[in-house]
């Protein structure tokens, strides 16, 4: 099942920060990891990842460093910052509230 783009857009930052909470990653790695962890449900248009990453970098939530990959290519690796971890925790809490309330409304019986 593919998820509607508008449903994704509000949570991409949360998803990206969650991915980076475990290890530093480069862009393509994030896309494949996101796809894998969501059982191919989250299929982000790949180019749109970069404005998100660059925005997070500008906000100081992630930092970037260049590293040579095995194939000798220099890649930009993104790593979550301490500030990014705090933001992730806040967004997780907000997401939990949001999810519960959406569930509550969606699952509530329609008035007679």
């Amino acid at each position: 099942m593919k998820i509607d783009k508008s449903l994704m857009s509000g949570s991409t930052t949360l998803l990206v920060l969650s991915l980076l909470a475990g290890e530093e990653m480069y862009g393509y790695q994030m896309i494949t990891e996101l796809s894998r962890r969501s059982s191919h449900v989250f299929d982000l248009k790949e180019g749109t990842l970069y404005p998100i990453l660059h925005g997070l970098e500008a906000d100081g939530l992630v930092s970037v460093r260049e590293k040579k990959s095995g194939e000798g290519r220099t890649r930009k690796y993104y790593r979550i910052t301490r500030r990014g971890r705090r933001a992730l925790e806040e967004r997780k809490e907000a997401w939990a509230v949001f999810r519960d309330q959406v569930d509550a409304v969606v699952n509530s019986a329609a008035p007679a």
Binding site: G27, E46, P51
Partner: protein, 259 residues
């Protein structure tokens, strides 16, 4: 298909008004695209199909470009560039200033001299004042024709008799009684005859005078320094005395076998 990617990336960059960032954006997105192509090739897709799929997965170029433009704000980018140039200019200015600033150069030398300070030899004349420990040692008289800035007059040779002074204090903030940076404030006699301060350069025309020579740091604020008092005399002395003003402390230097 590679050309298709170039068209795509050009369309992305067209939307980003801050041009200096175009190159890094292009490199990163190109890496991403090529990673995807390689993955699809590994899965056995034909190259053309792999490139087509990878490009399609990148999304709408204008959309990506507009989103990047919101992050790569031109005013912020230029502010960053200008501040980098300013910081560089400031660093260069500071480096130039430090290079030109003789005080900094001399400070470096003095610090080195402090580290290289050698203790006075055993048995030389020693006195302790309220502020300073002082040592005085006689040096070897020498005839000097010289080739330096403080040369004797042309054709002349002068007799120079060095007295080496070591000074040490615990109080780095005290303005010492003895300081080569101050005036000739020591009373010096050679065989009982007062030796006045000659010209600082000691031009050699003034007999029976003396002047300072820096051997080590002698400025206010240092704990240890060493310098020489060069006596310009007619003949080698037997004995020289140095009186520290206001304390009455006298240091003596004696030469054995002097005429």
């Amino acid at each position: 298909m590679r050309n298709s990617f170039q068209i795509w990336i050009n369309a992305v960059c067209e939307q980003v008004r801050f041009r200096p960032d175009h190159r890094s954006i292009e490199l990163e997105l190109r890496d991403h695209y090529e990673d995807h192509v390689q993955d699809l090739l590994r899965l056995g897709r034909p190259r053309e199909l792999a490139e087509e799929r990878a490009l399609e997965a990148m999304g709408n170029a204008q959309e990506v470009g507009r989103a990047l433009d919101k992050v790569h704000k031109p005013w912020l980018g230029w502010l960053w560039e200008v501040s980098r140039v300013l910081v560089l200019a400031l660093a260069l200015l500071l480096a130039w200033k430090l290079w030109k600033d003789t005080y900094t150069v001399s400070l470096t030398k003095k610090t080195w001299d402090q580290l290289m300070w050698t203790s006075p030899p055993f048995g030389v004349s020693y006195a302790a004042t309220d502020y300073l420990d002082l040592w005085l040692a006689p040096g070897e008289p020498e005839f000097y024709a010289g080739t330096y800035w403080d040369d004797p007059l042309p054709g002349e040779t002068r007799l120079q008799v060095p007295l080496t002074v070591w000074a040490q204090t615990e109080d780095v903030f005290h303005e010492h009684l003895v300081s080569p940076d101050q005036h000739w404030n020591l009373e010096v006699t050679a065989d009982g005859r007062p030796i006045p301060h000659g010209s600082y350069a000691g031009d050699g025309s003034t007999r029976n005078s003396g002047y300072w020579v820096y051997d080590g740091p002698g400025q206010y604020g240092w704990t240890r320094y060493r310098f020489r008092i060069l006596l310009i005399l007619e003949e080698p002395p037997r004995r020289a005395e140095v009186t520290i003003p206001r304390t009455g402390t006298v240091l003596t230097a004696e030469w054995e076998g002097a005429a």
